[in-house]
Point group: C2
Chain length 367, copies 2
């Protein structure tokens, strides 16, 4: 009896209209986790509260024997131990990281994959060695085109067995602030965030930030591996599609008041409330955030906090007089490149980059 | 217009037959998270991988101003700062913690709440001050009956506004190894695990281990607060029910081989495999684990690892010759009190203590 891989690993699909979340999506939702939205109160998200998406299993990597090999189309191949890596000059960059699939569960029909609502985000300070320094040491040859980053995580996906691997162009890899990171918020990487070292590509969606990094290979042609092919915006499975790259602008409100356990709706008493939230874009700084307290009928400009960290979210606040009744709170961001967070979702088959907001339902009691 | 609390916080319900996971359950599944099952490889679960269930929001507690007040029916009320607490003699206990709702999503019909499959578990070393020592200092009066533990987390649940609070009898509270814990695996508690201090009641389901603890009140009558009323095994909403207390025996297999991203099914090549897992019970030590590689048709006894930590899980292993084809792996635990993990779920309205296993589907390729 021949057992083909397709027996266990099937093509992607889109849910039927009205089809509830299935057991496969629930398995992913149970292992991975969003940032609880109340953590928008903190500029830096602690691990355990920062979102996590793991494609396969969290691998068990031994830092004592770990090595990072940089080879391929380079004059001087490099192989580094953890001691070598951490002895090099390093820098710390504050980065907002978001899953490309954040918002997927809000699409209709729903692409069947990790069913994120809107919390697949977090901001941390990543410390590591600039990739640019390693590339300068390795000296890519004149035929270098793409740089491929491969992790220790191994599995099957839509019928393809693979080590998780992603490619960037040489120019994208050689950009400012791209790091081989070995610390998160000042501590060694937690296992689920790529221990002992990972790639950090500020401004890009999470799929680019390869965890449990083990090799960097410079190649003389565009990388056509599974993950680069998968993360594309398509209407039909056979479309060529458009690559998912930088993070689209999004504003997220910290839900005010107290939650109901089951619905996560919020309860307030009447009176003044300072609404708070954070907004970000991987394309350019956040220049404007609009907030609606009436479900989108009218919008007001929020006050913006300092804009000191190019790759991190920016705080916004709006004072609101909460009167008795039910209210739907919404927010949307604009960035310096002129991109505006859309009010309606733009559907694609992979369920990527859906920045349509998920309004916060608030019930203000009489007193 | 009068806005009643019922507008936001509704009674519990059971899903219709065939009803998929809804948006409310998905909101909970996104914020809370299970332990990824590959972490069964580790005796101690790091935070971020250890399961977390938060009823309301993760509160923002300042350790510098935090106090723990122990009062009520005592001769000598106590109020402690963090400095006071951490200066007292402390001990470290290794404890397997499991959510009482673990397995809920496997019930049919499904009680609508946090939709756990089987991973709502983890094991950590908790360091803290024995509650017995604090109670001895406070000296409960002769009229003491129950001890009520109240956290800083506040919200609404099934129509009731509340601070999270749970009661234990004086005898249960005064037991060996009950701790006011301020460290997890040797580090300060992470926010989501109750920073700066929480209750740990070894052997009990998670609802008893009150996080973000702020007061301990000895009362002269049985505590009838919401959470003690909610965590009961009932067939109908009006049943008196049976309290959920200690953890029922469960064995959990570490899925072998490599995962498929979407289904979490496992892929192996033919040959010998050492199956591994961990089993636990809050009633007594694990004395036997049976493993089936044919979906439950036949069972073999697994080898048991050392049993050195009374309140922590025990490792088990079974050598298996994996032949090509599809296999369903299962495991079940027995404990020293004679309790046996049932093969079929015992339904109750709250979806508690469902220890029926979730078989691991394995596809062994031809080579």
């Amino acid at each position: 009896m021949t057992i083909p891989v397709e027996r266990v690993s099937r093509p992607g699909r889109v849910a039927e209209p009205g089809e509830g979340i299935g057991i496969d999506e629930l398995r992913l939702a149970g292992r991975n986790h969003a940032m609880p939205l109340e953590m928008l109160r903190a500029e830096l998200t602690p691990p355990g509260l920062h979102y996590v998406l793991t494609h396969y299993d969290v691998p068990d990597v031994d830092a004592a024997t770990w090595r990072l090999d940089l080879g391929g189309e380079v004059e001087h191949p490099i192989s580094l131990s953890m001691a070598d890596l951490t002895a090099m000059p390093s820098r710390t960059v504050r980065v907002t990281l978001e899953c490309a699939g954040n918002g997927r569960a809000g699409l209709s029909p729903r692409p069947v994959s990790q069913p994120w609502l809107t919390g697949a985000v977090g901001t941390a300070e990543w410390t590591g060695v600039p990739l640019r320094d390693l590339l300068a040491d390795a000296a890519p040859t004149g035929s270098a085109v793409d740089v491929v980053f491969t992790g220790h995580d191994h599995g099957f996906e839509r019928g393809v067995e693979q080590d998780y691997a992603r490619g960037l162009s040489l120019a994208e890899a050689d950009a400012d602030d791209v790091l081989i990171a070995f610390a998160m918020n000042g501590a060694p990487l937690p296992a689920q965030h790529g221990f002992p070292a990972r790639l950090v590509v500020p401004g890009w969606y999470g799929m680019a930030h390869v965890k449990w990094l083990r090799s960097i290979t410079v190649i003389d042609h565009p990388f056509d591996g599974y993950q680069n092919a998968a993360y594309r915006l398509r209407q039909q499975p056979d479309d060529e599609g458009v690559p998912v790259t930088r993070i689209e602008p999004r504003a997220l409100l910290m839900p005010p008041g107290d939650p109901d356990f089951m619905s996560r709706d919020r309860v307030l008493r009447p009176g003044p409330v300072r609404l708070r939230g954070r907004a970000w874009s991987g394309w350019g700084g956040v220049t404007r955030v609009e907030v609606s307290t009436d479900g989108g009928a009218t919008w007001r400009d929020a006050a913006l906090g300092p804009d000191e960290h190019r790759w991190a979210w920016r705080e916004f606040t709006l004072d609101w007089e909460a009167g008795p009744g039910e209210h739907l709170l919404r927010a949307r961001a604009h960035d310096a490149t002129g991109r505006v967070q859309p009010v309606e979702p733009a559907w694609n088959r992979g369920g990527f980059t859906n920045t349509a907001d998920d309004p916060v339902r608030v019930v203000v009691l009489d007193g």
